[in-house]
């Protein structure tokens, strides 16, 4: 016997109230990060010991700027989802839980803004 109301069953969102939303976003961002991380590692090794002008020349290439922006944004998105999972696993207190998740979100937005501002400043 299910204790779910017909509406709850029809919505299919379960006890998390968000269904597979978080799970799915985590996997899709992970998949996107596989090639982006390999690209980033190859670029980072290629810029070892480089001085500032060489880094600027590299990041001024439109494709490099675009991929670096994508890497930073998707990595921070993936990070926010992952840290949220850690927080809800270990912090039972509802208020603290929400507070920490918001803190992580704020951190992600701040770092993203800093990186994108830097990339734009370099590219333009």
């Amino acid at each position: 016997m299910s204790l779910e109301t017909p509406l709850h069953k029809a919505q299919g969102l379960g006890s998390s109230h968000s269904g597979v939303n978080h799970f799915w976003r985590q996997r899709v961002s992970a998949l996107a990060l596989v090639p982006l991380t390999v690209w980033f590692a190859i670029c980072a090794l290629g810029l070892v010991g480089a001085d500032e002008p060489s880094v600027l020349i590299f990041l001024q290439q439109p494709l490099n700027a675009l991929l670096m922006g994508a890497f930073v944004l998707i990595a921070l998105y993936h990070m926010a989802l992952g840290l949220q999972e850690v927080i809800v696993d270990y912090i039972p207190h509802e208020g603290l839980k929400i507070g920490f998740v918001l803190l992580v979100r704020g951190f992600a937005w701040t770092v993203a803004a800093g990186c994108l501002f830097a990339l734009l400043r370099i590219a333009i």
């Binding site: 992970a30 596989v34 810029l47 770092v111 370099i122």
Partner: protein
């Protein structure tokens, strides 16, 4: 009547560490480490955008022994989280769940991630990095 101390339910420390448990815990730890590592990435990009002196200061900090240690931890964490993440994605598609397979891929992820981290540093220190300057 004095009661004898009853055995508590088994806790984390009582189990031997199967490789699958170790890979899972390390995946989470490297994830948290990489979250802190995003600050390093942001610092690199912002320093580069701010001019010669700011970037030179960034390089001088990264070049210290402590900086190199942090960088090594970052590189290994990234390699481990990437490889084990691919393992997780394979599981999501239903592959590699058999215990002998999961044990083997777990050892493979640990070994390959350490080799990649060493390879990156060997390439960098032997002057084979820096091909984009």
């Amino acid at each position: 009547m004095a009661q004898k101390a009853r055995p508590l339910s088994p806790h984390l420390s009582i189990y031997r560490w199967p490789i699958t448990m170790a890979t899972s815990i390390v995946h989470r730890m490297t994830g948290i480490a990489l979250a802190a590592g995003t600050l390093l990435l942001a610092w690199w990009l912002i320093a580069a955008s701010q001019g010669l002196e700011t970037y030179a200061f960034f390089l001088s900090v990264v070049k210290t022994p402590l900086g190199q240690l942090v960088l090594l931890a970052f590189v290994w964490s990234l390699a481990y989280h990437l490889l084990n993440g691919i393992r997780h994605l394979a599981w999501d598609f239903g592959y590699g769940f058999a215990l002998p397979t999961a044990n083997k891929t777990g050892v493979l992820v640990f070994t390959l991630s350490i080799l990649i981290a060493i390879a990156v540093f060997v390439l960098a220190y032997s002057g084979r990095g820096g091909y984009f300057q």
